[in-house]
Point group: C2
DNA sequence: TCTTACCTACCTACTAGTAGATATACAAAA
DNA sequence: TTTTGTATATCTACTAGTAGGTAGGTAAGA
């Protein structure tokens, strides 16, 4: 099965952004990666900001589909939180790549409104998912000590994103696990 | 009192890195900010990597001096942890700037060995400070539920750095406080 | 007179982006 | 069936602007 050029471009761009940031790659890099002339990329994505927006939108869709899948398939809030942590663990690739959102955090100022909007929408969706998960935990008791789901949600997101940054420097996945273990330790079922 | 050019350059560079990342500013931007010709910057910092290394080293020194001051002046581990969280809170400037370390995280791959070494040294120093703080908490009881100081240290660092990222997008300091409140809530004295 | 701290003028390499030609495929009209 | 038209996806060749960095000169102070 051959992947169409547009998808190949998005794949390569996402990879590069997560490795080096939005300012860390060029259309020239991309053309080498995909095997297409630099100018041809502009056919699919007229401006770099279009590409940046497109990969953020796709990333949001992919992650939210996974999270919604956990809501459907995993019976307890604790299991869903564990799965959530694993999404951010897998995104690391042994420290070589970051979650797209973390990678976007630094360059954020130079982004187009469309890109920024896509990021905010994604973060809100993840937040809501976490709030629901912690609210469920209050009912099913699968996570200890939950009194404020909203607070727990922003705390949990900070932990996994912060753990990514730490692991990025150490290139040791054990540090990610150590950073998250206080959160994981509260899962009882 | 007039600040010397080298310091002015480092001040401007640090500001820009924390706003836009290491790839987000140029010697040209810097020359405008400081009022010196672009070529003259090379007199003080022959290569951009020299400047990047210098501001990381200075930042590390400043932060560690502050933290060591807390160890000296603040009687309980709880008070020291609260002060630590505040360092990362103040670094945010309402969401417009990040801690230099977080700002460096994305571009990290393209850095010189000297710059990387400076980052690692700094992170190790902060880690050690946190480990000592949590170890003290086990003795003075000023933070609840501390059983593993090393684990607590990496957890706490992840929380404050992750909280910075979240706040960066929302530009609402309340989100930083909310993300840290689970950690702060464990301080009893 | 040597050092410090700047300058002008320049270089090469790369950036995003544009213009216009071309090859292919597929469908409607002659 | 052949011709014509059109959309898709690519190409070559180019632009203006910016990147980091260098060469060599200059003015002031120790």
């Amino acid at each position: 099965m051959t992947t169409d050029t547009k998808t190949q471009l998005m794949d390569a761009a996402e990879q590069q952004v997560r490795q080096k940031g939005a300012d860390g790659f060029s259309y020239s890099d991309l053309s080498t990666a995909v095997g297409i002339r630099k100018a041809s990329i502009h056919y699919h994505f007229p401006a770099k900001s279009d590409l940046l927006t497109a990969i953020m939108a796709r990333y949001a869709k992919t992650v939210m589909t996974a999270l919604d899948g956990y809501t459907r398939d995993l019976p307890t809030a604790g299991q869903r939180l564990a799965a959530f942590i694993n999404v951010y663990r897998d995104a690391l690739n042994e420290g070589s790549t970051l979650c797209l959102c973390v990678a976007y955090a630094v360059s954020q100022e130079g982004f187009s409104d469309a890109t920024k909007a896509e990021i905010v929408t994604f973060r809100d969706a993840v937040s809501d998912w976490l709030i629901n998960t912690f609210a469920d935990a209050q009912t099913d008791g699968s996570i200890t000590g939950v009194t404020d789901p909203k607070m727990e949600a922003s705390h949990a997101l900070a932990v996994v994103e912060g753990a990514q940054i730490a692991t990025r420097f150490s290139e040791d996945m054990a540090l990610f696990d150590q950073s998250c273990s206080a959160l994981k330790g509260r899962i009882t079922g």
